[in-house]
Amino acid sequence: MSGLLHAFTILAVSAGVVFFIAGTVGLVRFPDVPTRLHALTKADNVGLGLVVLGLLPYTGGLLGALKLVSVWLLTLLSGAIVTQLIARAVR
């Protein structure tokens, strides 16, 4: 059973990392600010979601898992708001 969990975690976290790398490449390669913002928020949020998913089994108990998910949700909320503000400020 734990072998399966290990495999699942490695898979999820590595997928998450791939998304992070994609987001960073987008940040570096894209020509102007809105596109960079777009790349960053989309890729990094999904990446974070996958990493959180991968780590869920290790949090030991429901409370830890809920905390981890709340971290993800808060990042989603603040990421969205900040992207809107930066986009509005740049335009």
Binding site: L77, S78, I81
Partner: protein, 311 residues
């Protein structure tokens, strides 16, 4: 394996530190400072000092970053001020600083054979304080005098910031967020996040007695939430002469001092707690401190009073 991660963190820290010093533009340097602060809190976690990591993230890079960012934005046009000192001075300064850090590294290299520590003593006496978190034990019991004096330092800093306002603006309100155009996104954010923040701050202050956390970290989150609300224009910054604000500012240290003097009567001396309900007292103090730290840090970041009181 962990060493590789540490080496990564350390080299990143040093690189970012150097970049921050060398950056041409102050705004860029401040943004790098915020990143540096977050990395530093990871370094604290690696040094298994979670309390400090929380404080560093909240105060070290959070509210300090916000303060420096707003100052850098406001001072953009004074960028060209003054030139860097001449080259020989830079070289001399660099060599002297290198010498000092080499000395420091030397001291780090040769540790005492058995590293002297107060951990056993702290843990042994922790039972008397009724707390489980040793850092909170040190802060609120063993070295309570330092914490009390430090609170007074905070109040003095606030008074110093207030004294920089002009005479006619005394009693007025800081100009934080007074000029921000109505921005629905920020208003939405300022309505959604604070409730979560307040719950989070309350939790942080409460668990401080047994797990990493405490009054300072909780207080800082409260301060940031209030700053967000003020900056979004949802609520106006309070005038500094309002008695409610003044009482809130003084509540924490006053209660701490009162409990300290109470120690003369009910316990062994100043800032001593009776063993059986020490924890209750300490938690009470932490709650009051969290409140007053929140208000103090927020007003510190809000700056000196500028708008006179509209009667």
């Amino acid at each position: 394996m962990a060493l590789v991660f540490d080496i990564g963190i350390v080299s990143l820290l040093i690189a970012i530190g150097a970049w921050m010093i060398m950056a041409r533009d102050t705004l860029v340097a401040v943004i790098i400072f915020v990143v540096y602060g977050l990395l530093m809190s990871i370094a604290w976690v690696r040094l298994s000092a979670v309390d400090v990591a929380l404080t560093e993230a909240a105060i070290g890079s959070g509210i300090t970053g916000m303060l420096l960012l707003s100052a850098a934005a406001r001072l953009r046009q004074t960028e060209g001020a003054g030139a860097r000192p001449s080259f020989p001075v830079c070289v001399a300064a660099g060599s002297l600083c290198a010498l000092i850090s080499a000395g420091l590294a030397g001291v780090v290299l040769l540790p005492a054979d058995v590293a002297p520590t107060l951990a056993p003593l702290a843990v042994a006496n922790l039972a008397d304080t009724g707390l489980e978190n040793p850092v909170a034990g040190v802060l609120f019991a063993y070295r309570a005098l330092d914490t009390l004096l430090e609170k007074v330092v905070l109040l003095l800093a606030l008074l110093g910031v207030w004294s920089l306002g002009s005479d006619r603006a005394w009693g007025g309100a800081p100009a934080l967020g007074a000029y921000v155009p109505p921005n629905d996104i920020l208003v939405f954010f300022a309505q959604v996040l604070p409730p979560i923040g307040i719950v989070f701050a309350a939790y942080m202050t409460w668990t401080g007695a047994s797990h990493p956390g405490g009054a300072f970290q909780g207080g800082t989150v409260l301060a940031v939430m209030w700053l967000l609300v003020m900056m979004a224009g949802v609520a106006r910054a309070p005038p500094i002469s309002s008695t409610k604000v003044r009482w809130l500012l003084v509540a924490g240290p006053a209660l701490f001092l009162a409990v300290g003097f109470l120690g003369f009567v009910i316990a062994a001396g100043f800032l001593a707690y009776p063993v059986d309900y020490a924890k209750a007292l300490i938690v009470l103090i932490e709650i009051a401190l969290a409140l007053s730290i929140g208000v103090t840090l927020a007003l510190l970041a809000a700056g000196p009073p500028e708008r006179t009181l509209q009667p």
